[in-house]
Symmetry: none
Subunit: 146 residues, 2 copies
DNA sequence: AAGCAAGTGGGAAAAAGTGGGAAAATAGTT
DNA sequence: AACTATTTTCCCACTTTTTCCCACTTGCTT
């Protein structure tokens, strides 16, 4: 189970080390894709297979004949990358993905059950604060209603 | 699986190198056809066989294209080119296909699961931005249509 | 305080991408 | 058919990027 958040550096060569706690579970090869909510998803190869199986078309039709499928497949596959983890636990983040979520020198690396997410550090902070406030408000609301 | 996007140069001799990550899967011969949405499709010879079978099999007729099928097949077959990959991984892009999508000095080369797409660089950027905005809605739509 | 582990940085070697010239092939002309 | 001109192919070379390896720093543990 992938848990916790870490702030790691991205150097000038687009390298970023993965938290040690994630390495064993991730294996030596991962798939990075654009995620929802302005972050990147990191899947193990096994998880990725599951995802693609669910998305894959029945044997009978040509996926490129449907405009919606073309769009979605370009988004899912065209903007994904298979990335090797090097001998000391680092990955290379493809420039086009880095650009997509506006990554600079550092990123938040977050374990979310069966995947890892990579966030622009600031965006992660903002997102957390927002969720935290909602949680407070929710707690308040719940306590008042008693 | 073909994944990711790359920006490559097209020189004055219409040569363009394929991303190393694609070469193994593509083999030494590919089929280039006009694609849908202002790009070119690149298929492996194996994938192309599948495509032709599905397009020409009259028993599994493509109902939604019934009246336009001949036109579509002329579009796909008539303007397809079989292209060899040279010893250092480059291909020649046929001028008539180059013109079709208005390619000049550089192209976006995109892996989309089992095919490669070649885009005018700018057109790819524009398309990406458009799809990015629609991604959530699109995912929703596809999941409902199953 | 020493030793280890995790994360970061940088240099050198290797690979990928690009460009261009010469040989070969094709086409055109007389 | 022979010669010339143009296009295509093949090969070599240069430049930039990527990869691999080593080493430093920081902070924790014993």
């Amino acid at each position: 189970m992938l848990l916790g958040e870490y702030i790691h550096t991205i150097d000038e060569k687009n390298r970023m080390s993965l938290p040690v706690k994630f390495r064993k579970e991730l294996g030596k090869k991962i798939i990075i894709t654009p995620g929802l909510d302005q972050c990147l998803f990191v899947f193990t190869t096994k998880e990725w297979e599951k995802v693609t199986k669910k998305l894959s078309n029945s044997e009978n039709d040509l996926s490129f004949l449907s405009s919606d499928k073309r769009s979605f497949n370009r988004f899912m596959f065209g903007r994904a990358a298979e990335v090797e983890i090097d001998s000391i636990g680092r990955i290379l983040i493809p420039p086009f993905l880095k650009e997509r979520i506006n990554l600079k020198n550092s990123a938040a690396v977050v374990g979310v059950e069966d995947r890892v997410e990579i966030w622009n550090e600031k965006a992660w902070t903002v997102y957390k604060e927002k969720v935290e406030k909602e949680a407070d408000a929710l707690a308040e609301k719940l306590s008042n209603s008693k």
